[in-house]
Point group: none
Chain length 207, copies 4
DNA sequence: CATGAATGAGAGTTCATTCAT
DNA sequence: GATGAATGAACTCTCATTCAT
């Protein structure tokens, strides 16, 4: 049983190794430009070895998606317990951006890149996405009940707030800000988030 | 002379036909996943015919980029003459979003997709992008002088506002909103923009 | 009739122009590496125009071969009248080498390059080649009757002498003498020919 | 270990098989007319298989060149120890011709065909060629010191002698002797060589 | 468990050639 | 007489994938 354990552990380690290599390459050059051979080379295994751990190239992408959504879910989890809805909303959005910038490869796969993988897995993600979206909207509703963000449709607000953080993340991740240095970019993103938070808080006063 | 004219016209039409086919395919599957053969097939010509109109695959992308930036520039042009800075800013952002949703393929190529094309052309775009960004930031500065958006760094504000509209556009274009119908999406985007406009105007009162 | 003449003349001029362009390109890069488009480009006509003057690419090669053999035949013609066989032999060989170095493209096509052209034309050349060879061997026979080159088989001698001049020419034409400058090469070829001539004359004394 | 050995052997055999097929095709039709597909077809493998053994088409040519020069070097090696310069010269030239006729494909690649391959390898060959040429010229100098071949410039003599054997070889290899049967050609080549040897020996008497 | 060998499919691209104008 | 438009066939080369070992 110790042996079986070790084998199992090694199997998982190998999968992780492959996924990690693939993750980086996919961000750098896009899924369809990265060849299995390149992934194999970068971990110094043969291409055929990869097939012992993954059904095919799409399967790697699928596994990465799963890990990515798990990680995001894991990070958001604790925020769900914040009592004050406006605090919760702010935490939710901040955590989202932090996740994106800490896991650019994941974020790219989840929300920017094409998903040429087999359709089967998409459904699972739809489900996750929908649930995450609903959590956001519910929080917004609670904010409204508490007097914030009153005037607008909660769906529009949810979409708008999500767009804001998605925009910050994706402009950075896809290098569309050549006018700033890497340092500046992250600093500006933080400032923009603070600006948002201020506005959220101010959204009460005015009504 | 009539003949020469017609030939010229036909040549341009053919180029347009190829570009149009490529544009759609590029949005659907990404530049590097689309083969010249597929483009040729979709307009029912042979692959070699494409080479009579474009040097190579990159050249098609290059041409599309040019058209895209021209169109965006054309649309923004009139906004530059709006005297009131806050009106100008609102128009600028609205036009940007409209452009994105009216020209999803272009927007995708310009601001979402990787640009594996030859580096030469990128420089021209950097220049355009930088100028466009500076126009935005200058407008924001003028808004601040007029008492709006006062508290924050103009760069952070510019980045934030751009991110907001980019987020709206790119979530729609890359189909990350399966929880809404196509109609809903655009309606929500408009509502979100109105919400933004309100906030911009309110940004004065508070100080 | 004047008009017909002019047209005929122009037709020939155009053929000559094409042949000349092809000739140079063929020497520089080899028949199969040269495309019709390159030939057309170099005379600033369209590829299709060439088909008005030649059936296909092979036909150009065929025409060049014909011109080449004509030119060589023309140069050798006068030598046939030299009475003294040893003088005739020397003249024959010298003229051959001069032809080769004056018409490197032709020589390359005739005696070095592959002949991927349709087999039809080869027969004609075999005939020419055989006749030229026989002229050489007959001259050698007459030299032997006059006491020169006595000991050896005239076929072997003919082959040997031809090989000698062919070797000089083809090493130069195919750039296999990078150790010498262009000037040196031709000077050395001349010296080698003189050496040969001396030997031919000495071939009498010894017997 | 037996397994590794066998694999290694098989790998080499496959390389040899490809090289052999390529060698023959290159002689028959010239490097640039032969496609990788044709090489693959002729050994009944798929085109992609070739790429497991050679980087690209040029690499095949490169490998053949290396083998060719090795073989020639190997054959000439023993001749360098012949003490008498005139014997050495004769052996050198005879070996050269024998090599050419025993390895027509190699000879064709080395001294007749164009070398469109990457320039890197050419330099190595220039070096080899130059050294081989210098060995020839030095031998001639020593012959002159021993009283042979006195009157002429050693460079001209070297060039002349080389041309002679190159001429014999290349007229045979490139099929420019349709007037003789294959048997006759080789017999005549040998006779021509004997004729040369006689002359070399006679070159002493006269001075 | 890992891989080397092999391949069919398909990539971008160039070619000689045809034909309507 | 000259050509622009078009193409099918072929090119070199890369890819994801399979399979025997």
């Amino acid at each position: 049983m110790g042996i079986a354990d070790r084998k199992e552990r090694e199997k998982l380690e190998m999968r992780a190794k492959i996924l990690d290599a693939a993750k980086h390459l996919f961000l750098e050059e896009g899924y369809s430009s990265v060849s299995l051979r390149r992934i194999a080379d970068s971990i110094e295994y043969s291409p055929s070895t990869i097939y012992l751990y993954f059904k095919d190239k799409d399967d790697i992408l699928f596994a990465l998606h799963n890990l990515a959504f798990q990680e995001l879910y894991h990070r958001q989890r604790q925020n769900l317990q914040i009592a004050d809805p406006i605090d919760r909303l702010q935490a939710y959005l901040s955590t989202y951006l932090e996740f994106a910038l800490d896991n650019r490869e994941y974020y790219d796969l989840m929300f920017i890149q094409y998903a040429p993988a087999s359709k089967i897995k998409e459904k699972a993600e739809w489900r996750y996405g929908r649930r995450a979206y609903e959590a956001l909207r519910d929080t917004i509703r609670q904010c409204q009940e508490a007097g914030y963000l009153k005037s607008v449709d909660p769906d529009a607000t949810a979409f708008g707030l999500w767009s804001f953080v998605h925009g910050l993340a994706s402009l950075i991740i896809r290098h569309r800000l050549p006018m700033f240095s890497a340092n500046q970019r992250e600093k500006l993103a933080k400032q923009a988030m603070e600006m948002l938070n201020e506005m959220l808080e101010l959204s009460r006063v005015q009504h």
